[in-house]
């Protein structure tokens, strides 16, 4: 009886617990000379279940570093990370991570790259391949399964990466400048594709970008980081735009412009500071 109550309570708590809670996270790197470099200082961020949060900041401020903490790839020097109410120890098994750098297995074809994401979890080869084919079709690459990554364009590789991550159906999606190297047209297509996929099954998303317009167009919330070292979170805005959205049309709305101007104002000072400190790197 008591057990049942406790269980029900735990379940209720799990339902209301946010997907990601970073509390006062500080990340310092030990450098070769013996000194330390504090990349991020006392960053706190909460992402609710099903919420799409973008993280915007000047290059080198620590956005990737923060995602690595949420993924469990990097332990914070101070502060804590909680996933659905539980402290994160080791890898974050509930998350899928679309990396900023090339992360596909170059020795596997596109379909094998996607299928392996299921096979690691014990799904049989045939079923994994059938479902990988479905996912490739969903991201518009149904006919490209037999190609190796080097035979695909940058945008196509990102789409394979997206299929590879989403096929595992993670509860939390971590995306690090996924459309960074793509041209403007492809970015829009990819953005709409991402929103379509996300709309079908709302996951918690931490989306890192340096493009403020993209951040506003895609997200429920936009979080701004200051320039490093010791980057902090300096702003958190709710995006007052309705869903579902088309990211090229949403840019014409008045609310979009107002929010953009407001955030820009804050961001500009930080970007300038960032250039001064990192030499534009």
């Amino acid at each position: 009886m008591a057990d049942e109550v406790a269980e029900a309570e735990a379940a209720a708590r799990a339902n209301v617990a946010p997907a990601v809670v970073l509390s006062d996270v500080t990340i310092a790197f030990h450098l070769v000379g013996g000194s330390t470099y504090t990349a991020v200082e006392q960053a706190s961020l909460t992402v609710a279940d099903g919420e799409f949060v973008s993280i915007v900041g000047p290059t080198g401020c620590g956005k990737s570093t923060l995602l690595n903490v949420a993924a469990g790839l990097l332990a914070p020097s101070a502060g804590t990370a909680e996933i659905f109410g539980k402290p994160l120890a080791g890898l974050n098994r509930q998350s899928g991570y679309l990396f900023q750098a090339e992360a596909l297995f170059p020795w596997k074809t596109a379909i094998d790259n996607v299928a392996i994401a299921l096979e690691t979890g014990g799904v049989g080869r045939q079923e994994a391949h059938a479902r990988a084919q479905e996912w490739l079709t969903r991201v518009g690459l149904g006919a490209f399964g037999g190609r190796y990554p080097h035979m695909l364009s940058g945008g196509q590789r990102k789409r394979v990466g997206l299929a590879q991550v989403l096929i595992r159906d993670p509860k939390i999606l971590l995306m690090d400048e996924p459309f960074g190297p793509l041209d403007a047209q492809t970015r829009q297509i990819m953005g709409n594709l991402l929103l379509d996929l996300w709309n079908a099954d709302r996951k918690a998303v931490m989306f890192v970008t340096h493009d403020l317009e993209e951040a506003i167009a895609l997200s429920d919330r936009v979080v701004i980081m200051s320039a490093g070292p010791a980057a902090r979170i300096i702003g958190d805005w709710r995006v007052p735009l309705s869903r579902p959205r088309d990211i090229s049309e949403v840019r014409l709305e008045k609310a979009f412009h107002e929010l953009h101007r407001e955030i820009c104002h804050v961001l500009k000072d930080e970007v300038l500071k960032g250039y001064a400190q990192t030499g534009g790197g």
Partner: protein, 263 residues
């Protein structure tokens, strides 16, 4: 240049060389003697006749077979050893650190000085040559496997872990293909060294093999035999290299420029 013209020019080089060789060694100049005495330079007709004779009476096959088996055994044993030790060292940095100076020391040793020891240990048969080849092949494969595992992109590795791979799956889907690609990109070198091991071993003392043929001809001042042996050996190496290129093309399809990145 089209393929055909290229091929024509390549053939032309061979024909001109042969003709020059023939003229210089058989057309008498001052004093009724050719410019290059045939005793030292032989002449292409004799050499070709000798090669045809070897193939016609079948003596060459046994020697070819011996050299091929020595090189193949050296390659297989050296490659398997190199892969095993390479994996072991790359996954156990402490073991690697302990053995590091010794690996460097042995690798710095000119392998030729080992040949007499191997002859002493393994006799004049094929195994002393195999051993020499193994010492050459092993280190190339070993260094490439080690490097291949160390150089796996950290992002690819992080991705593999985020996709839920356990240690065994990491081995199979990440480390192994990466190591293998390095081994394959050095395949020409390692196969070449397997042949070098066999040939040098035979040269230093043997009872059969391609280089034994050359050695024998040398002993009797049979220059035509020496040249004939050299040509057969060169052709043998080219055929093996061609086979390696075919294998490489099949196995490294995923690489953007398999042909350009080989060492």
């Amino acid at each position: 240049m089209s393929r055909l013209t290229l091929f024509t020019f390549q053939i032309l080089v061979a024909v001109i060389t042969l003709v020059l060789w023939y003229l210089l060694t058989s057309v008498p100049v001052s004093g009724g003697k050719p410019l290059f005495p045939p005793f030292f330079f032989s002449n292409p007709v004799d050499v070709i006749e000798r090669i045809i004779k070897w193939f016609a009476d079948g003596t060459i096959w046994r020697h070819l077979w011996i050299t091929l088996s020595e090189a193949t055994l050296a390659f297989v044993i050296g490659a398997v050893g190199g892969i095993l030790v390479g994996f072991w060292f790359a996954r156990q940095p402490r073991v690697a650190a302990v053995f590091d100076p010794y690996v460097k020391m042995i690798n710095a040793l000119p392998r030729i000085v080992l040949a007499p020891i191997f002859t002493l240990w393994f006799g004049l048969g094929i195994w002393s040559k195999v051993a020499l080849g193994v010492t050459l092949v092993f280190f190339i494969v070993f260094f490439n496997v080690y490097q291949g595992i160390k150089e796996v992109s950290p992002t690819v590795l992080a991705n593999a872990r985020m996709l839920g791979m356990n240690e065994r799956q990491l081995m199979r889907h990440v480390y192994w293909p990466s190591a293998l690609s390095w081994v394959f990109s050095s395949l020409h070198t390692s196969v070449g060294f397997a042949v070098v091991g066999a040939v040098v071993g035979e040269y230093l003392g043997s009872a059969a093999g391609l280089d034994y043929l050359i050695l024998q001809a040398e002993g009797t001042f049979d220059i035509a035999g020496v040249f004939a042996g050299m040509f057969v050996l060169a052709a043998f190496v080219i055929v093996i290299d061609g086979v390696v290129t075919l294998v490489e093309r099949r196995l490294l399809v995923w690489r953007p420029t398999a042909a350009d990145t080989r060492t």
